[in-house]
């Protein structure tokens, strides 16, 4: 046996320690980004979730205009917190479409009456099928969809005041 081979296990182990030590010093990022970024939206046709807004299909998002797609639910507490910021986005010219996850029409109506309705369309996703297909793992999340129906950006969690300019910038970039 060649004698240097006895050092191989130690060398491999130290390499592992190096990487592990480096990782320990890094802040842990728990966000899971969608692998769907840069991918076209899947085909879907969602029923309206509210009486006064139409439902949502893939075609609606392929008319050349970039939009924000907001995944939310009436039962979701952070969604209440983000409502005024979505309204701010709408006032600055963003077109926001909503996808209501596992919701009931009467609850959606009550939510919109209480916290405002920034959406131009709201589709109802009863089984989280669209949500899973676009790589969203929680509620709320906000996606930037460009005019060709391609996912450009994903915002995880509720939209806060700081996020409004970021989303507007991403929306402009998706032109």
């Amino acid at each position: 046996m060649i004698r240097w081979t006895v050092w191989v296990p130690l060398a491999l182990f130290m390499l592992f320690i190096g990487f592990a030590a480096y990782q320990l010093t890094q802040p842990k990022d728990e966000f899971i980004a969608s692998t769907m970024i840069g991918e076209p939206l899947p085909q879907f046709d969602l029923q309206p979730a509210s009486v006064d807004r139409p439902g949502l299909t893939t075609q609606d998002l392929r008319d050349g205009k970039p939009r924000l797609l907001n995944v939310w639910a009436s039962w979701c507490v952070p969604c209440v917190a983000e409502a005024p910021h979505l309204e701010a986005l709408r006032r600055q010219g963003a077109d926001i479409v909503g996808v209501a996850i596992r919701d009931r029409p009467e609850d959606v109506a009550r939510f919109l009456a209480n916290y405002g309705n920034p959406y131009s369309r709201i589709g109802s996703d009863d089984l989280s099928e669209l949500q899973l297909a676009i790589g969203s793992s929680g509620v709320p999340e906000t996606f930037v969809i460009d005019g060709q129906g391609i996912i450009r950006y994903q915002h995880l969690g509720d939209v806060r005041a700081d996020d409004v300019p970021v989303l507007m910038r991403e929306l402009a970039a998706a032109q």
Binding site: V6, P9, F13, M14, A20, K28
Partner: protein
């Protein structure tokens, strides 16, 4: 008072470990004989104290003493007693105390019974065991004290994660821990032998029962964990290549290799350095696995206490122990002479081949598990799963299984394949016929196909060593080997069959409606509320009939726990000899229909039957080894007393 007793016992145990280390180390020098007498008693008392400390923690949990932080964080007064007790080790601090307890008890046991090795090697071994122990005592006492009191007792506990309130999870962690930590004995033996340069068949014989014992528990722990994940998580899968699962598989692979190389060393005085290295690697894998899981540097479904400070502490321990042992190995391996030679076609040759294959598989699992760690350093997120592990692993598993079928038929030192032509032809032609038949009748993928064929061939081959021998005279250890190998075949058959032939249905069914999956017809008879000690549930009453036969009832539930609040699905299993129907009930859709998720999994149960057979084989081998050893001891004692009589 009880918490303080436990803590005091823990400090005393740590102090005794320090004594054991110092005395064991000084005894290596000339004139250390007096100190040497301290080592064994110190190890035994240390084990008893650690055991006492763990017992105190169990008492605290049994009484639900809410002035203790750990109890308040992880228990609840309304939990059933069994789960109160399992709550003691269903958390970071308690499980680390269990770890050190098992380690100290294992040390106490070797101190009490092991007499085969030269005393110097034994003392070095016990010193090494104490050295490793001290690090974990320090970890426990300085950063993870399980006996910490709250300034003000809590009104009520926060409960135990409902997923963990399961009978399987009561036994799974202790079983795995006995396996993990039992390997520390092999580690200490290896370090002790390196220090005193005493690597010989006696060393292998002394180490082998300990490795076997740990390996049996690891096998059972992995089998039970896999079954738990299968029925409790409600995904119908039995292995997910999750980092925590890999963390238990890696020591098992290393221990399996170690068992076989120790056999070669014990019988033929070959593979000295290799056996030593495996002894170090096996326990190292246990520690690396623990570190990966506890430090939170790898994301896993098993979310333990994620705490960078603790991660740093364990990393330091890893550097000290694994790095130290590997350094010692590198420095000393050259002075461990090579041992006996053998030809490639021999029992040793086959064992070496399989050792290399096992290590290659271990390497593949290790690389797959650590790969995200490496890429994340370069800001690339990846997740490594079955598309990597299955095919890459198969490259080494397939040749290993083939050699595993042939190896036990070969003689030690030198043999020829011509001598065992008949069994080779039988196994080969049956496997080939099966290959043709299965590929003509079904259209399954290549890996499951190979799995089915190899399982059949190995099942027949594993009992071939009986050929030409008297059954009564066959050593128990040989029976153990045959049954363990047969168990591998059985488990492999289950895995291949489940992968190839599973059928799945996802249906929305109204009450009274029916659906089908594979040969089963499933009728949703009723959905009714039901309640347990700390949960309420909606239970679906399903009437299921196999192939038009009589209907039996099966009741999947969707449970709501209230302490802590969490929803879980309790799958229901209908077991037949040839497989399981796995049913899960989901939510009610808007139109009143219920989501049913049904799987028909032919022969899936064979995976766990196989696991149990492997463990049973280990138990038989252990019994055989221990009995042979006792016999050898009594013969030695008799000859010694006869000699003494003759001298008088």
């Amino acid at each position: 008072m009880i918490a303080e007793l436990g803590l005091a016992a823990l400090w005393l145990a740590a102090a005794l470990a320090a004594l054991q280390l110092v005395a064991g180390a000084l005894a290596q020098r000339e004139g250390g004989a007096e100190l040497a007498q301290l080592v064994r008693p110190a190890a035994i008392v240390q084990g008893l104290l650690a055991g006492f400390s763990f017992l105190m923690l169990l008492v605290l949990f049994a009484q639900t003493d809410l002035s203790v932080k750990l109890v308040a964080m992880n228990s609840h007064s309304e939990k059933p007693m069994l789960f109160k007790l399992s709550g003691a080790f269903g958390n970071h601090e308690g499980s680390m105390l269990l770890w050190i307890t098992v380690m100290a008890l294992a040390g106490a046991l070797i101190a009490a019974v092991e007499r085969r090795l030269p005393e110097k090697t034994m003392l070095a071994t016990l010193a090494a065991q104490a050295f490793v122990g001290i690090g974990f005592y320090a970890f426990l006492l300085l950063s993870s004290n399980p006996f910490e009191r709250l300034p003000v007792p809590a009104m009520e506990g926060m409960g135990l994660n409902p997923l963990l309130q399961d009978i399987g999870l009561v036994f799974h962690p202790p079983t795995l821990y006995i396996g993990y930590v039992g390997l520390s004995v092999a580690f200490s033996f290896a370090v002790g032998a390196l220090l005193t340069r005493q690597v010989n068949p006696d060393f292998a014989r002394a180490m082998r029962p300990w490795v076997l014992g740990a390996w049996i528990f690891l096998t059972l722990g992995i089998t039970a964990g896999s079954y738990w994940a299968y029925y409790e998580l409600g995904w119908g899968g039995w292995w997910f290549w999750d980092p925590v699962e890999n963390a238990s598989l890696m020591p098992w692979l290393a221990a399996t290799a170690l068992l076989h190389s120790a056999s070669v060393l014990a019988s033929r005085d070959a593979l000295r350095a290799w056996t030593i290295m495996l002894g170090v690697v096996a326990f190292s894998m246990s520690m690396v696995g623990t570190f990966l899981v506890r430090s939170g540097i790898l994301t896993s479904v098993h979310a333990f206490a994620v705490d960078p400070e603790r991660g740093t502490f364990i990393l330091g321990l890893l550097v000290l122990y694994i790095g130290g042992a590997l350094l010692l190995f590198a420095l000393r391996a050259g002075t461990v002479s090579e041992g006996e030679r053998f030809s490639a076609t021999s029992r040793e040759g086959a064992l070496v081949f399989n050792n290399v294959m096992l290590c290659a598989i271990l390497g593949i699992v290790l690389v797959g598990t650590l790969y995200p760690l490496v890429t994340e350093a370069f800001d690339v997120r990846v997740s490594v799963g079955p598309p990597y592990f299955n095919p890459v692993g198969a490259i080494f598993v397939v040749p290993m299984l083939i050699v595993m079928a042939v190896g036990p038929l070969l003689r030690w030192r030198r043999d020829s394949l011509a001598r065992i032509r008949l069994p080779l032809v039988i196994v080969g032609s049956v496997s080939f016929a099966a290959l043709i038949l299965v590929s003509l009748l079904t259209s399954i993928a290549i890996l499951p196909l190979l799995g089915l064929v190899l399982a059949l061939g190995l099942a027949i081959a594993s009992f071939m060593p009986i050929r030409g021998r008297k059954l009564r005279l066959l050593p128990i250890a040989t029976w153990g080997m045959m049954i363990a190998h047969f168990g591998i075949a059985v488990a492999l058959f289950g895995m291949a069959s489940e992968t190839a032939f599973s059928e799945e249905t996802l249906a929305a069914v109204e009450v009274g409606g029916s659906t089908e999956v594979g040969p089963w017809t499933v009728v949703l008879a009723e959905v009714r509320p039901t309640a347990g000690p700390n949960w309420t549930a909606l239970e679906g009453r399903l009437m299921v009939s196999y192939d038009g036969g009589a209907a039996t009832e099966t009741d999947p539930q969707s449970r709501n726990f209230w302490a802590p609040a969490q929803e879980t699905t309790e799958s229901a299993l209908t077991t037949r000899w040839n497989g399981q129907l796995y049913s899960v009930i989901g939510r009610q859709a808007g139109d009143g229909r219920w989501q049913l998720r049904l799987w028909w999994k032919p022969f899936v149960t064979f995976i766990w039957y196989g696991g149990m057979l492997i463990a049973l084989g280990g138990v038989l081998a252990l019994i055989g080894r221990v009995m042979a050893d006792l016999k050898r001891r009594s013969i030695r004692a008799r000859t010694a007393s006869r000699r003494a009589e003759a001298a008088q």
